[in-house]
């Protein structure tokens, strides 16, 4: 069983410290949710785990499958089994969804075997159509340029489509509910639920409780000022829903430079 282990992580961007000693363990098969007010470093955590070059790790460790993740490039992390569903997926003009996903799959195969000839087209087409129907996507979607002119819902569905195709062991969903109407939220959540199971660990990052009505977490963590300050079960999310974040702030921000 793989485990994502984050120890005392400190991260700065442009010289400003955002994460200030974050600890977290996510096992394959578990669903974790990280909740917290805006500006506490939730997205910084997501980008840092995936290896975005703008984020500078100043202290701490990240381990996954006996590998020091911080020494790996983003593409190596992905091939190792990490996945990030972006809050704001990036448009890649001129590159179709199908071409992109085939390139990504082939990169995995070639990393295992440099002689690999790539996934045969019929096999790939079958796989893609199967995953697309899971997310209620029209087959024409595969021929569109990636994220270009996509609606908010289409972008998020495309993220989950990528996750379904690449089959990570740990997936980080960064504010996947933002910009979604209820129908899209339901489709996306059902997609995630269909993929989750003993093979997949999920880290849901969200500001609102609403996504957690659809994706049921095993563990809930509250993040504040660059650290996880409170961890518990699903009841913690409900508590936040009822009482907001003020009680957390009162409890922890005394003595913490906000």
């Amino acid at each position: 069983m793989s485990q994502l282990l984050v120890k005392n992580l400190h991260v700065s961007i442009d010289g400003k410290e955002i994460l200030k000693g974050l600890d977290l363990t996510v096992n394959q098969g578990e669903i974790h949710a990280i909740m917290g007010p805006n500006g506490t470093g939730k997205s910084t955590l997501a980008y840092t785990l995936m290896g975005h070059p703008s984020y500078e790790v100043t202290a701490g460790e990240v381990w996954f499958k006996d590998q020091n993740v911080l020494e790996l490039e983003a593409d190596e992390r992905s091939r190792l089994g990490l996945f990030l569903a972006f809050q704001y997926p990036v448009a890649i003009p001129g590159v179709t969804v199908a071409n992109f996903l085939r390139t990504a799959l082939n990169a995995r195969r070639r990393a295992e075997n440099p002689e690999d000839k790539g996934v045969p087209i019929p096999e790939f087409r079958k796989l893609l159509l199967e995953k697309m129907s899971l997310l209620q996507m029209e087959s024409a979607f595969a021929g569109r340029y990636l994220n270009e002119g996509f609606s908010g819902g289409e972008k998020k569905r495309a993220e989950i489509l990528q996750m379904a195709t690449l089959r990570p062991e740990i997936a980080i969903l960064d504010e996947t509910d933002s910009g979604l109407d209820i129908d899209a939220l339901r489709i996306v959540s059902e997609g995630v639920n269909a993929l989750s199971g003993p093979e997949l660990g999920v880290l849901v990052i969200t500001h609102y409780q609403r996504l957690l009505n659809y994706i049921k977490p095993d563990f809930v963590h509250i993040m504040l000022s660059g650290r996880i300050v409170e961890s518990g079960g699903p009841e913690l999310a409900l508590q936040l829903e009822e009482r907001g974040y003020d009680w957390v702030r009162e409890k922890y921000e005394n003595g913490v430079a906000a």
């Binding site: 490039e73 890649i92 990169a107």
Partner: protein, 449 residues
């Protein structure tokens, strides 16, 4: 191969004149042929014009001081013997197993293959020499009418001394279903490949035509100067694909113009990946009311390549529409220039003109100049332009890498995507794949800059 650098020291800045000039003489003009008078006229013009210098506006950014003009000779009739033969994949049929005709022009010769059905319809598709012999009246009517020798020294030179070329005529109302293909193959060093291509799609006719120029990689310079004259008649339609993949020692100069008649339509795709230096003038004249034209260009320069493209969209009549998009990528210490002009003549009301140039700089030593221009002498028009010079952005690369795609491959994917909308306008998969491959090869090449 080590070459001694050529050093010239002067006390005052020299005006950018080439230090060497051509050694062509009037006795090289063919002594007969349908174009005899035209050639003589072009020769006189050539002789009266000096080598362009950077003091001329059109040549400001392209310096010919390094042109080894005196080293170029005209190929002799047997010139091809001993030179690299044309690669088979350049001759691959355009659509699965057939095309309507193919002409291969080589130094001192030409081979022509045409579907007999086309000849029965009155379509003429042959090399210049044969056309001068078999269709003298037609050739005289076509040559020098659209690109005139006075337009520049290279236009005059190609007009006077062109040894090779294509004559393509589609009679009124004839719809040519199968595409026609010609390749100018220019192997050899120290040669001046001079070509003249004449295309006339008569009223109501329609045609798809691909013309390529190419040569192998060689270790010393050659040059090409070519004129391309295109007439699209009233209500006629032409899809014209023009591609150059010259070897890296070729100095390439072309003058191309297409005239489009009333309600005629031109769809022109231009691609350039080769040559040491290219200076291209490409213009479309929308002469008849309701004429429309689209120009799509792609270019990719690397190493020390220099590509300078001048485009012009001339709206001469009312209700004409033009749309131009040129996309370029640069690596190494290459340099590209795109200078575009939309001209709207007095009285050419209700015209709609657009031009855009997008450049992607992949190495910091590369440089792209993008110079759009408008000259509008009518008042009821819609014209606009856009120009950008950018680099590979971090966010798309990171996004692709986060899916397991290594950085270099991610960059390749972004560049491929950048060109894709233009590539999709090339109507033939075989040709498209060849140019996509050229782009991939350039992306893969290591340049330590």
């Amino acid at each position: 191969m080590e070459e001694k650098p050529r050093i010239v020291v002067t006390r005052t800045r020299r005006p950018g004149a080439a230090t060497r000039d051509f050694v062509f003489t009037a006795d090289m003009l063919p002594s007969d042929g349908a174009l005899k008078d035209y050639r003589l006229q072009a020769w006189k013009t050539y002789a009266s014009l000096a080598m362009p210098t950077t003091r001329e506006e059109a040549w400001r950014r392209t310096d010919l001081r390094g042109l080894p003009a005196d080293s170029f000779r005209l190929p002799t009739p047997e010139a091809l013997q001993g030179l690299a033969p044309i690669p088979a994949d350049l001759l691959k049929p355009l659509i699965s197993d057939q095309h309507g005709g193919q002409i291969v022009l080589t130094p001192g010769g030409a081979s022509v293959e045409v579907d007999a059905a086309l000849n029965r319809n009155g379509v003429i598709f042959t090399d210049l020499k044969t056309a001068e012999r078999d269709h003298p009246e037609l050739v005289r009517k076509m040559a020098g009418q659209i690109v005139r020798p006075e337009e520049g020294r290279f236009a005059a030179l190609a007009g006077a001394l062109s040894q090779n070329g294509v004559v393509l005529y589609v009679p009124r109302g004839v719809i040519v279903e199968q595409p026609l293909h010609s390749v100018l193959w220019g192997p050899g060093t120290g040669l001046a490949h001079l070509s003249h291509v004449l295309v006339w799609v008569d009223d109501g006719a329609s045609l798809t035509y691909v013309h390529e120029t190419a040569s192998p990689q060689q270790d010393a310079a050659s040059m090409h100067a070519g004129n391309l004259e295109i007439r699209v008649g009233d209500g006629a339609a032409l899809k014209f694909v023009e591609l150059q993949s010259w070897g890296r020692k070729i100095w390439n100069f072309t003058h191309a113009r297409a005239q489009v008649g009333r309600d005629g339509n031109l769809d022109w795709i231009y691609g350039a990946v080769g040559s040491h230096l290219t200076k291209t003038f490409a213009e479309m004249d929308l002469d008849g009311e309701g004429a429309s034209g689209r120009m799509s260009g792609f270019f990719f320069a690397d190493g020390t390549q220099h590509l300078d493209l001048d485009t012009q969209q001339n709206h001469q009549a009312e209700h004409t529409t033009s749309d131009l998009l040129f996309k370029g990528a640069l690596k190494g210490s290459s340099r590209t220039v795109w200078q575009g002009m939309i001209y709207v003549a007095p009285g050419a009301q209700k015209t709609d003109g657009y031009q855009a140039n997008r450049n992607l700089i992949l190495d910091r030593n590369a440089r792209a100049d993008s110079i759009p221009g408008l000259e509008i002498l009518a008042d009821d028009v819609r014209c606009s332009h856009g120009a950008t010079v950018g680099t590979l952005e971090e966010e798309p690369l990171f996004y692709l890498q986060s899916r397991g795609i290594p950085e270099k491959e991610a960059a390749r994917l972004v560049v491929e995507g950048f060109f894709d909308p233009i590539m999709q306008r090339i109507p033939f998969e075989g040709v498209r794949e060849r140019f996509q491959q050229a782009i991939l090869d350039k992306m893969a090449a290591d340049e330590n800059q």
